[in-house]
């Protein structure tokens, strides 16, 4: 294939050697055909690979659910925890050894329903973790029940007549709670996602990257996204680059969502503050 300006990314991706970062003996993975999680996994790998982090030191922590199986497939120090608690375990790990880069992968149910408390407090505490939140708008592993990000009126196995609950805006929630780096990407915009994750890794503080991803089996099938490709097309048609999104009128924004870095405002990081406290009090008798 001739490499030119339009296909260079494609060629780079095709020739990218993921094997160094993957535990090949545990592949094939458990995800359904057409699932977006593999796209996020690869983006995560490219981001980590280009970050310059010492691979022996990289820790990856997850909770429970489809997204949380990511840890098992990636060849780092990996910790698959309990439902909703990935951020709590990760906080302990990072606080015990601040020199370790700690990334967390979680889903919309895991991070925002059962783990919602840890989510907002991790944002507030601003501990240096990078959370990649797979938002497929559904509980996939348990069979397609509605989640805190399932849009109103959507169908799920526990909303057979349409969901009556409003959804969280993950990024607004994170900004409100104090996260210092907040970004949103999609599996359609896979290469742009690499950069968003990399930005989170470089941010010294709590970073969250929401990834809008597809669950064709449990969400798409019931909600007019008849194929994985249709779900990706839906992302293409509804995602708007954040700069452009902010110039749109509220009417134009209706039904659309912004992608890119939505918020990046550094403030003191938890481990650094703790170190300052230690420096201040060490040697004191009481």
């Amino acid at each position: 294939m001739t490499v030119n300006a339009t296909n260079i990314a494609e060629v780079e991706m095709a020739s990218y050697d993921f094997s160094k970062y993957i535990r090949g003996r545990y592949i094939p993975h458990i995800w359904c055909p057409g699932c977006g999680n593999g796209i996020v996994l690869k983006s995560l790998i490219r981001a980590i690979a280009s970050s310059g982090l010492d691979l022996e030191k990289v820790c990856l922590v997850s909770g429970i659910g489809c997204s949380s199986r990511t840890t098992g497939y990636m060849d780092f120090n990996t910790l698959h925890t309990t439902h909703g608690r990935a951020l709590a375990f990760a906080t302990g790990l990072k606080f015990a050894r601040p020199e370790l880069p700690v990334l967390v992968v979680s889903g919309d149910g895991d991070a925002l329903a059962i783990g919602g408390n840890h989510f907002i407090h991790s944002c507030r505490r601003n501990i240096d973790l990078t959370l990649v939140l797979f938002n497929n708008h559904i509980y996939g592993m348990t069979g397609g029940q509605f989640s805190p990000t399932t849009p109103r009126k959507s169908f799920a196995s526990t909303s057979p007549f349409g969901n009556i609950e409003p959804a969280f805006d993950i990024c607004q929630l994170a900004i409100g709670a104090g996260a210092t780096y907040v970004a949103r990407g999609t599996t359609y915009h896979a290469l742009a996602l690499d950069k968003l994750i990399l930005g989170g890794i470089h941010n010294k503080g709590f970073s969250i990257i929401e990834v809008v991803t597809q669950c064709p089996v449990y969400y798409g099938r019931k909600n007019n996204q008849k194929s994985p490709a249709a779900a990706l097309m839906w992302q293409r048609d509804h995602a708007v680059a954040v700069d452009r999104f902010r110039k749109m009128t509220p009417e134009e924004q209706e039904g659309k969502f912004a992608i890119g870095v939505l918020h990046n405002q550094p403030r003191p990081e938890y481990n650094e503050e703790y170190q300052k406290l230690v420096d201040r009090v060490s040697g004191r008798a009481s």
Binding site: G72, H80, T82, R85, G92, N117, V278, S282
Partner: protein, 391 residues
């Protein structure tokens, strides 16, 4: 200074009576915090709850000054998760709570059993169920300690009686957690947690400290959960060149999830065996005047002090009464209890609940032995007279 006696008990406590040290006047929860630091604990995560909060308060002052980490988490569940993370990073880690908090921690406690992550959980028991009586004593969590988390799992739980013993058993709790790579629960109660007594604080060099064993050097074939005759795996601290996987799912020796019934069965059996095969090493108890006792009292924690008082009075009246006080509550020191009870016709179990330990005692008694209980759950301690009137 002269070391405290009850040498037998001290020997069982993991640290021999030390020649060097000093007497200090400490609160139970304070003694627990000081002993944790002496044992090498360098990571605390917790959530405020009565009547355990002083443990956190003391450690929030001690740990930053000795190279340790103290963090107050957003809830009980997060605290339990954080100490597992801290322990996997290589630090000796602990949390402190009370009944309602322990209820919340149960899932992650089971994770620590399953993933074999050493940690210490202090439970300063209060009344229950539910919010119960936050600042009143109770001993109603002993079955929660044993069976609280779902599934079959090993449990080590210790129940010190005095403040001095809280100091020694806190150190032992850390030593056992590291030795067996499992959570160890230390059950205090509102009485001994808040009581002030003199405590023999040994010099640091006289305290026996057990550290987790180091894994073999990193190699491509590293199996974090390798089954060997020691039954305790050698997990490496995260970020030290091993890159392995830890999960709460049923897993093989490589740490990865498995659906193979043989591998699953092997894992579950080893988890139980690694404790049950070492019951003698774990057993810890006190026996008083049991040789000729026809009535045997069984009591633990602060209730054992009332039982001791009742025993002395009864003996002065010529009654042949003995006391069996389990200090390691789980696994229950069965053999030692059976020996202590061998001559007893009557066994009286005193506990601040409506009958929990008595179930274990009934299981262990011989036909013909009468077992009854002195029980109380009104937020008041069992006093010696209450026991004495039954002797």
């Amino acid at each position: 200074m002269v070391a405290p006696q009850s040498a037998a008990a001290a020997a069982k406590g993991g640290s021999a009576p030390s020649p060097r040290g000093e007497w200090q006047f400490l609160q139970g929860n304070e003694a627990c915090a000081l002993a944790a630091v002496a044992a090498g604990c360098r990571f605390y995560a917790g959530y405020p709850i009565s009547p355990s909060s002083e443990v956190a308060e003391y450690l929030s002052s001690l740990l930053p000054r000795c190279g340790g980490r103290f963090i107050q988490m957003e809830d009980e569940i997060a605290a339990m998760g954080a100490i597992i993370g801290g322990s996997l990073a290589g630090l000796k880690a602990m949390t402190a709570t009370s009944g309602p908090g322990l209820s919340l921690k149960q899932e992650n406690l089971g994770y620590a059993c399953m993933a074999e992550v050493p940690c210490v959980i202090i439970n300063v028991m209060r009344g229950g169920p539910s919010t119960g009586a936050p600042t009143s004593p109770a001993q109603g969590d002993i079955m929660q300690a044993r069976w609280g988390t779902h599934g079959d799992h090993p449990t080590i739980a210790l129940t010190p009686g005095s403040v001095d013993e809280i100091y020694r058993k806190t150190i032992r709790a850390f030593n056992l957690a590291e030795r067996f790579r499992t959570p160890v629960q230390l059950l205090l109660d509102e009485i001994n947690g808040h009581m002030r007594e003199k405590v023999w604080v040994p010099a640091a060099e006289d305290i026996e400290i057990v550290n987790r064993t180091a894994p073999p050097p990193p190699s491509p074939g590293y199996l974090p959960y390798r089954l060997d005759n020691k039954l305790v795996p050698q997990l490496a601290p995260f970020g030290t060149g091993y890159r392995y996987h830890v999960t709460g799912l049923d897993h093989g020796e490589d740490g990865f999830p498995t659906n193979d019934p043989k591998e699953r069965a092997r894992l579950h059996k080893r988890l139980m065996d690694k404790i049950s095969k070492f019951e003698e090493e774990l057993e810890d108890y006190e026996r008083v005047d049991v040789e000729d006792a026809d009535t045997l009292l069984v009591a633990f924690g602060s209730t054992a002090r009332s039982a001791m008082g009742a025993l002395r009075t009864a003996r002065s009246q010529g009654k042949r009464v003995g006391l069996f006080r389990p200090i390691t509550l789980w696994p229950f020191p069965e053999k030692a209890f059976r020996q202590a009870a061998s001559r007893a016709k009557r066994i009286l179990v005193a506990e601040m609940n409506l009958g929990q330990l008595i179930l274990e005692i009934e299981r262990l008694t011989a036909p013909g032995q009468e077992v009854s209980g002195v029980q109380r759950s009104d937020g008041e301690p069992i006093n010696p007279l209450q026991i004495l009137e039954r002797l």
